[in-house]
């Protein structure tokens, strides 16, 4: 029997980058086929080519033995291919039903959408898949896990037999991952073929029937999970041993860097999203905050940084109450910040690197002399950051958008650490960057910790959290529900706390 999918010699170039270089891939009918690779290895690009969203420069694609070439996703959809993207493709202001049917709307005469028909069909698909969401709910009301299910339903609704899931587990806690994997197995039992992208090797080994590894746009290997260990896989991916965050000797001091006392923060609708949170970070200490996204971590960091008002409670920085002071004042007092979304909160994408390095510190030397900008000083400092943090760039006058994600992140970390902050708020400092850059970031944070920096670390990467932190607190629905010692906690335990499962067990 012909394989479900066969990609032969796919090459795709972007300006300055070869995303896929002579990639070959063979996916058998009815298997779960994992694709692994570092960030930027070209996984998403390959999937987008398969899904008709991007056109390959070279190579052939065969679906069930038949050669195809897609100029738009609609042609892929016709062939029974469906894709769930790395980033959710849902319109918040549309209902679940509308989001699902778009592009495949049943219509009556005059272009009217046959909502009855659509609803019935959705119910059918949803029942089979175990969807319990009201189809008339607006997507903005859904939780992350629910959104992902809507994404998968979207694909199933079109009767796709070949499913592409691009990093579906990135936003899920372990328990949700289990649920997802159950569903995937069910789908496979119903005859679906699943292409599945994941960085997390244990997950890959658990679910995949076959694994293909990409490195820098090349296919390096196709293996069976029972033939390889996680270590082998990692080596295939990066060409060397996978680095892991290491806990080193404790450097925790008695001196309090940051103290949050009984802090409550309200959201835009005046509902409490952070409730009576107290946490203390000593100098030389890293306190990690674990939590499923949307449980108040963002609002907590916002409140500490001063971009959101505290409703009650206190924030004390090095003994000074900063609860009501401006962001600028806090920064001048020694608060550093690595935001969770570098494009939204961290960078001026259109501005040159040296202006980006000045951002956040622009009132102080060497970036400024009183009210005047010190361009020479800023540039010199930027060169320092570039050297010290290995930011790969042709020069410091290019705009920030020209850098790859990892280098952008190194630039941000560098800019914050070069200012020697006493307290650093680091939100997902290694999200979406490659292994090499990851290790560099960890090293930098550890070095600053040793030098006495107090760090509040928020991360969805539980290994990172456990590896780096001196203490871990778990945040659930706006409150801190547990304080844990990273030396004797596993990601699975953390997952239980994060979803509230362990609390229920305890009670």
């Amino acid at each position: 029997m012909a394989p479900a999918i066969e990609l032969i010699g796919i090459t795709k170039r972007f300006p300055g980058v070869i995303a896929n270089d002579d990639v070959n891939l063979r996916v058998e009918e009815g298997e779960i086929h994992a694709i692994c690779g570092e960030n930027g290895a070209g996984k998403s690009t390959l999937m987008k080519i398969l899904y008709g969203m991007q056109a390959a420069d070279e190579g052939t694609m065969k679906i069930r033995g038949e050669e195809v070439s897609f100029s738009s996703p609609s042609e892929a959809i016709e062939r029974g291919i469906g894709m769930v993207h790395q980033h959710f493709m849902l319109a918040d202001q549309l209902t679940v039903l509308e989001n699902v049917i778009i592009g495949a709307e049943p219509v009556k005469s005059g272009g009217r959408i046959d909502f009855e028909n659509a609803r019935a069909h959705l119910r059918e698909v949803g029942d089979a898949y175990g969807l319990t969401i009201d189809p008339d709910d607006l997507v903005e009301r859904l939780e992350v896990g629910e959104r992902q299910r809507v994404e998968i339903i979207k694909v199933l609704y079109r009767g796709a037999k070949i499913l592409i899931l691009d990093e579906p587990t990135a936003v899920l806690v372990p328990q949700e991952v289990d649920e997802l994997f159950r569903n995937m197995r069910d789908l496979r039992a119903d005859g679906a073929t699943i292409l599945f992208i994941d960085h997390k090797l244990d997950e890959v080994l658990e679910i995949a029937d076959t694994i293909t590894v990409l490195r820098q746009g090349h296919t390096v290997a196709t293996v069976k999970p029972d033939e390889v260990s996680a270590g082998d896989l990692a080596e295939l991916m990066v060409g060397s041993e996978l680095p892991t965050p290491q806990t080193t000797r404790s450097t925790v001091t008695d001196e309090v860097g940051l103290e949050v006392r009984d802090l409550t923060v309200l959201d835009d609708d005046e509902r409490p999203v952070v409730e009576h949170v107290s946490v203390t970070v000593h100098r030389g200490e890293i306190v990690g905050i674990a939590g499923v996204e949307g449980n108040g971590q963002t609002e907590l960091t916002d409140a500490i940084m001063g971009t959101r008002d505290a409703a009650s409670g206190h924030i004390v920085l090095l003994g000074h109450d900063i609860t009501t002071t401006s962001v600028r004042h806090r920064r001048q007092q020694g608060l550093g910040y690595v935001p969770q979304d570098r494009h939204r909160e961290g960078l001026l994408l259109a501005a040159p690197l040296w202006e980006n390095v000045a951002l956040g510190h622009q009132t102080e030397p060497p970036y400024a002399h009183g009210p005047w900008l010190d361009r020479a000083g800023s540039k010199a400092r930027t060169e320092e950051v570039r050297e010290e943090f290995d930011v790969r760039t042709p020069n410091i006058d290019v705009a920030a958008h020209a850098l790859s994600g990892g280098n952008q992140q190194k630039l941000i970390i560098g800019r914050e650490l070069v200012a020697n902050p006493s307290v650093l708020i680091a939100a997902h400092p290694t999200r979406g960057i490659d292994v090499g850059a990851q290790a560099a970031v960890w090293d930098a944070i550890r070095a600053a910790r040793a030098a006495g920096m107090a760090t509040l670390l928020i991360s969805a990467d539980l290994d990172e959290l456990i590896g780096l932190s001196d203490t871990i607190v778990v945040m659930l629905r706006g409150s801190l529900v547990a304080t844990l010692d990273p030396t004797d906690v596993t990601p699975r335990d953390l997952g239980a706390y994060m979803t509230g499962a362990s609390l229920e067990e305890a009670s």
Partner: protein, 421 residues
């Protein structure tokens, strides 16, 4: 509080009827103080309609465009094209063709905007401004080439522009059935001069008596647009362009195509608005500079209406009423009464703000309301310039109180490029 929640449970049409009735009631009571009937005459609602319709069409045009994610500040320019082409079409091919060609002229502006914003990724506002500069240049040139050759035409104006016919609803407003003149029910009640009831019928009659077919078509675009946007496949796909184009793209929808169509429709509606401005319904002639910022005001109506067809209609009426009234208000008494109406409206806002615990709104409403009241009681008439700017003031004040409750399409104004997810 309880009444507020009850109100919210009513179907939309009933709620709007109730609001309208309440509004008319206020007008009825207030105009008694000033001894004028201007606020509730049939001709006032006719004037409101006349002034609201082009604005509404511009607003609906903006709706198509912005629902598809393209901000359209070029509506004004598209409307300008509509005035010229509308006049030229009507003069050469008759009034119906005038409307169609006016729309076509506007859609040309829309197409240009689409090319710049969709294909070239130019900032939407910048492209819009450019179109607003270009459009008067084009029409001026066309006038110099074409209109100057007409008897009575010149570089800035056209000969008389003929118009489409008018319609009067039989039985309610006394329209003809065949050649038989049917009874005029609303007119009859109006003549009875019953408190409130006659005011309602008088205003209602203005909406169904002697209204131009062009106006009927324009009004029909409101439910039509609502239907298209909410109920059809085309509408859903249009909305995904404005909410999350990448999502639509990944479902195989050609986002560019929908954006192009939407912005072109947008221009066509603005152009139709322009064609109606030159029609005898409003002017009966093309004159340069005639749109007078109505495209911009349509944009305001769009925002005021929260990117919804019904809201846009309400917003246009809110603008058209004081504008039409101000022009018709020869003695100035009606406009003077409007001050009191404003006071009452602001008092209602005050009540609302207090009930919601919105202190700043309450204080603002209180101050503005008090000022309006003070002015009302200290004067007998209002100056001409005040009448001229009242509509703008009203829109501004409304936005001051309700801007924060508005929600524009999530991807509106963002530059979308295919294949970038």
């Amino acid at each position: 509080m309880i009444t507020f929640t009850r109100l919210a449970q009513l179907p939309a049409w009933a709620r709007w009827m109730l609001y309208a009735a309440a509004g008319i009631f206020v007008l009825t009571v207030v105009q008694g103080f000033d001894d004028t009937e201007r606020l509730t005459t049939t001709s006032s609602s006719q004037a409101m309609l006349r002034w609201a319709v082009p604005i509404m069409l511009a607003g609906l045009g903006g709706l198509y465009s912005e629902r598809a994610g393209i901000v359209n500040i070029g509506l004004e320019g598209m409307m300008v094209l509509g005035t010229w082409f509308g006049a030229w079409g009507a003069i050469n091919y008759g009034p119906w063709w005038g409307l169609a060609i006016g729309a076509l002229g506007g859609s040309f502006g829309g197409l240009l905007h689409a090319v710049a914003t969709v294909s070239f990724g130019v900032d939407h506002i910048i492209s819009g401004v450019a179109i607003n500069v270009l459009a008067p240049g084009i029409t001026r040139f066309l006038s110099s080439e074409i209109l100057t050759g007409y008897d009575g035409g010149s570089i800035t104006q056209s000969p008389r522009v003929p118009g489409v016919g008018r319609f009067t609803l039989p039985f309610f407003a006394g329209g003809n059935v065949g050649s038989w003149e049917s009874p005029d029910l609303l007119g009859w009640v109006t003549k009875k001069d019953w408190f409130f009831l006659s005011d309602v019928t008088s205003l209602t009659r203005g909406l169904v008596a002697q209204i131009s077919f062009a106006t009927i078509i324009a009004l029909a675009f409101v439910p039509l647009t609502a239907w298209v946007i909410w109920k059809t496949r085309f509408g859903l796909r249009l909305r995904i362009c404005g909410e999350h184009p990448q999502s639509g793209e990944s479902q195989g929808i050609d986002i560019y195509r929908y954006k192009y169509i939407a912005v072109t429709i947008s221009g066509a509606l603005a152009g139709l608005g322009g064609a109606i401005i030159v029609s005898p319904e409003l002017s009966g002639i093309y004159q340069e500079g005639q749109t007078n910022g109505r495209g911009f005001i349509g944009l305001a109506a769009l925002i005021f209406g929260n990117w919804r067809p019904g809201g846009i209609m309400a917003g246009s009426m809110l603008f058209g009423y004081p504008f039409g009234l101000g022009l018709r208000d020869l003695g100035g008494a009606g406009s003077h009464s409007l001050l009191l109406v404003n006071t009452i409206a602001l008092a209602l806002v005050l009540v609302w703000a207090v009930s919601r615990g919105r202190r700043v709104d309450a204080v603002l409403a209180g101050i503005l309301g008090a000022l309006a009241a003070l002015w009302y009681f200290l004067s007998d008439t209002v100056p001409n310039w005040w009448i001229n700017i009242l509509p703008f003031v009203i829109v501004l004040v409304v936005l001051v109180f309700f801007s924060q409750r508005l929600r524009m399409p999530a991807a509106d104004g963002q530059i979308y490029r295919r294949g970038e997810t």
